[in-house]
């Protein structure tokens, strides 16, 4: 059994992987950002190459800030160099040196925005749809006026949980729903719960806060470490210490699975325990199906659905379990979109100076979607769904919403 390193040891493993770089440039050819802008010279150049100049906390130049953090470089590296992880660290060092702008402080805290938007959701949504407000937002804090922003909701997911009777079962799972389900897309959480209950599971939904991922990607490491450690504690309420933890947000799931360990160097007994038993929702359902335990009482879903596997889902290294499960649904015409990245990379593409880059990164994907003209686009990651809808006008859903429909949901 491969033992995973934690704490300082995890980071020293990441740093030591530098020595394995043979400068083959595979990462530079696969990087979606370096392919569209001269501002980012490529993951090898800002990573394994520049790293030796970063002694004493100084960064040789600012280009690492243009890395979107999609993580494709680490996945394609034939030598196992943790390029994206190294560059994430370098970016946070850069921010520590130069300060983090107010805009980044804001987008790094989805819970704060959600809490602020919720009581005045209709007003907030109208304001966000108002071009004058968006123009002002771009000029004052630097959020691009055309960048996708989620719609706030008046009823949070935890409000729904409070009124949901649930089912009792000996088979139990913990549900880690994440911020977007809580503040913007509570229907995703409701459907996850329904699907798991339909398969005979009791779904335990503890009170939970942000995993710290947006803090991490905006370079705010100490706050991110605090957030993920707190979340791990929240996800281990009484007598749930060995239950699977199910995530329906791919990037937040990856935070628990790996990034807290490899990028943040966070460590706690709860985090170690939660990390090892965190599952992407479709990864979990695929295991059920492999054991012959998944209910397949599907109604036909006569739709054409184009599926895009987001970067942070691919970085979990579990393949495309959503595709494998959706293929079981009768009547569904599934089109696998064969593109690497939609460009948004969490909060990267909402920033004034990066919006155009993100749109150029996503262009091949958008073109394919528009050529296909599907009824729906399915994508496991919320920010990618928002980006795809904003860029193409297509309706995008979490693939589990298709599964929910196949189970007879509306």
């Amino acid at each position: 059994m491969t033992e995973l390193a934690w704490g300082a040891e995890a980071w020293s493993e990441v740093r030591a992987s530098l020595d394995r770089c043979i400068k083959c440039t595979v990462c530079e050819t696969a990087c979606p950002v370096a392919a569209v802008t001269e501002l980012f010279p490529g993951p090898k150049t800002v990573g394994p190459q520049a790293e030796r100049f970063r002694t004493g906390g100084h960064s040789p130049d600012l280009s690492v800030d243009y890395c979107s953090g999609c993580g494709i470089c680490s996945r394609v590296c034939p030598q196992g160099v943790r390029i994206a992880e190294l560059n994430s660290r370098a970016r946070s060092e850069l921010k520590r040196e130069r300060g983090v702008p107010l805009r980044d402080q804001l987008v790094a805290r989805p819970g704060l925005l959600g809490r602020f938007g919720r009581p005045v959701a209709p007003l907030f949504n109208r304001a966000m749809a108002n071009s004058l407000v968006r123009w002002a937002g771009e000029r004052t804090i630097g959020i691009h006026r055309r960048a996708p922003v989620p719609r706030s909701t008046t009823r949070t997911f935890s409000h729904w949980v409070g009124h949901h009777a649930g089912t009792k079962s000996a088979r139990r799972v913990v549900y880690f729903h994440g911020c977007s389900t809580q503040w913007y897309e509570p229907h995703v959480g409701q459907k996850v719960t329904a699907i798991l209950e339909h398969n005979g599971y009791q779904v335990i939904i503890p009170k939970q806060d942000c995993c710290g991922l947006p803090l991490q990607s905006n370079g705010l490491f100490p706050a991110a470490r605090k957030a993920v450690t707190r979340l791990a504690r929240q996800l281990v309420p009484d007598a749930t210490g060995d239950l699977p933890v199910i995530s329906s947000s791919t990037s937040c799931g990856l935070m628990l699975k790996r990034e807290a360990r490899e990028i943040l160097g966070a460590d706690s007994p709860e985090l170690r325990s939660v990390s090892a038993r965190t599952y992407d929702i479709f990864e979990f359902l695929r295991e059920l199906h492999q054991r012959g335990e998944l209910r397949t009482d599907f109604k036909p879903v006569p739709l054409t659905v184009a599926y895009h596997a987001p970067c942070q889902q691919q970085n979990q290294l579990i393949g495309k379990p959503a595709l494998e499960i959706l293929r079981l649904i009768p009547g569904l015409r599934l089109v696998e979109l064969d593109r690497s990245c939609c460009g948004i990379a969490g909060t990267y593409g909402v920033k004034r100076e990066k919006y155009e880059i993100a749109m150029r990164v996503g262009k091949p994907l958008f073109t394919d979607i528009q050529a296909e003209g599907p009824d729906l686009v399915a994508c496991d990651s919320e920010t990618c769904r928002w980006q795809i809808s904003a860029a193409t006008g297509a309706t995008s859903v979490h693939p589990l919403e298709i599964l929910h429909r196949a189970y007879g949901g509306s």
């Binding site: 440039t25 595979v26 530079e28 996945r75 394609v76 492999q290 290294l317």
Partner: protein, 417 residues
């Protein structure tokens, strides 16, 4: 939803085995730590180039070559199957316009201007066979640092193809519109897909042409639309245009990799990158599952058949410890020096002890265990993982990968039936 076959490695051999298995109806999963050699190599298909003298007819001279190389991986494959695998590849890669014959080597310029024997090339390189001489305008792009046109042209003019024909070459350097400070290949290759940029390049080259019959350019003529870019440039220039390989990254290699990945996806197969195989589970002499490290934990991936195509020392399939111990990383298969000497030689360019390292296999390409028998009845090895070859010296790499990948799939498929 079960997997019939797991292939470890996404280079040429792994992809060939995966594609053949998938075409035969198997559900195939390719697991690889990262992308393989494809995006780095020039995408020319070598079969046999030197034995050590220059080889003109690779298939015809194979038997003679093998007489002195009892440990060579080509010994595993009959000449007929080498030819069959190349025919299959030509058909599969028709969208990239691969051309050539295993009975006749071509002599194509390298990035340094040497003439290199190779067998099959994509359409974008087809006009670059200088076996019968030719007069070439070598075009460099200002700001693109991976291509040195003057050096290339000077060396090319020194080349002597065995036909005795003359090669003449002249270098020019042209500018693309915009700032030429540093043209990185990943941006350059996409810029040339823009019609306006290509038109300007075409006009510029045409104005610099003198008596030359051929135009050689760095291999950056587009990624997804290389056919249109290459064809468009030929029309603009009014002469046959051919690509000359650059140092890595290789755009023709990326085109071929994309093509193979997509072909597998169309057959229902999957390539999963970033997934390092860390061990296995066996029952008796049967391999049951490989263990793979995902983001959070190690998982088992069960399958009926397995192909080991993780490459040799260069790609980490085999590692050499500080004490000289050689180890095949996933299964601990027996590693052989493939007939290379035990001790280093001081002779310049001599075969060195690690040059032919690879796994030892039985006649059915099954890796051997410590005891000398096959490790598992359902594990086959292919490509650079096999001991006994020196592909850089022999110019045999792709041929070995194609033939042994092709055969591994047949043997696994036979076991399936």
């Amino acid at each position: 939803m079960g997997t019939d076959a797991v292939v470890l490695g996404a280079g040429t051999a792994g992809m060939v085995a995966a594609l053949r298995l998938a075409a035969a109806g198997a559900s195939v999963l390719v697991l690889a730590e990262g992308e393989g050699g494809l995006p780095l190599a020039p995408a020319q298909i070598d079969v046999l180039g030197y034995r050590p003298q220059l080889v003109l007819d690779p298939l015809g001279e194979l038997a003679g070559f093998l007489e002195s190389r009892p440990d060579h991986p080509y010994q595993l494959v009959e000449a007929g199957e080498v030819g069959a695998s190349l025919d299959w590849f030509l058909e599969l890669s028709a969208p990239l316009g691969y051309t050539g014959s295993p009975r006749l080597n071509r002599l194509q310029p390298t990035g340094l201007g040497a003439l290199r024997p190779t067998c099959l090339v994509p359409e974008t390189m087809a006009a670059g066979d200088l076996s019968d001489g030719g007069s070439v305008l070598v075009v460099g792009l200002r700001g693109f640092r991976d291509f040195h046109a003057p050096l290339l042209a000077e060396n090319l003019a020194l080349a002597h193809p065995p036909s005795g024909a003359e090669v003449r070459a002249r270098a020019v350097e042209v500018s693309l519109p915009g700032d030429p400070r540093d043209l990185r290949p990943q941006l350059l290759v996409r810029r040339l897909e823009e019609r306006g940029v290509l038109a300007e390049l075409g006009r510029e080259i045409r104005s610099r042409l003198e008596q030359e019959d051929l135009v050689g350019v760095p291999a950056v003529l587009g990624l997804e639309s290389s056919h249109e870019v290459w064809q468009g440039l030929q029309e603009l220039v009014g002469r046959p245009v051919f690509e000359i390989p650059t140092p890595p990254p290789s755009q023709p290699g990326q085109r071929l990799q994309q093509h193979l990945f997509r072909a597998l996806r169309r057959l229902g197969g999957e390539v999963r990158l970033g997934a390092r195989a860390a061990g296995y589970r066996a029952r008796g002499d049967r391999l049951v599952a490989v263990k793979v490290v995902t983001a959070a934990r190690e998982v088992e991936i069960p399958a009926d058949h397995f192909v080991l195509a993780t490459g040799g020392i260069g790609t980490g399939g085999i590692t050499a410890g500080p004490d000289g111990e050689l180890r095949e990383e996933v299964f601990g298969a027996r590693v052989s020096r493939g007939g290379a000497p035990e001790q280093p030689l001081v002779e310049y360019m001599a075969t060195q002890p690690l040059d032919r390292v690879g796994v030892e296999v039985d006649e059915e390409q099954r890796p051997l265990g410590g005891g000398g028998g096959a490790l598992f009845e359902n594990l086959w090895a292919a490509g650079a993982a096999l001991a006994g070859a020196e592909p850089w010296r022999e110019k045999s790499g792709e041929g070995i990968s194609l033939a042994t990948g092709f055969r591994a799939a047949r043997l696994a498929g036979g076991a399936r039936a």
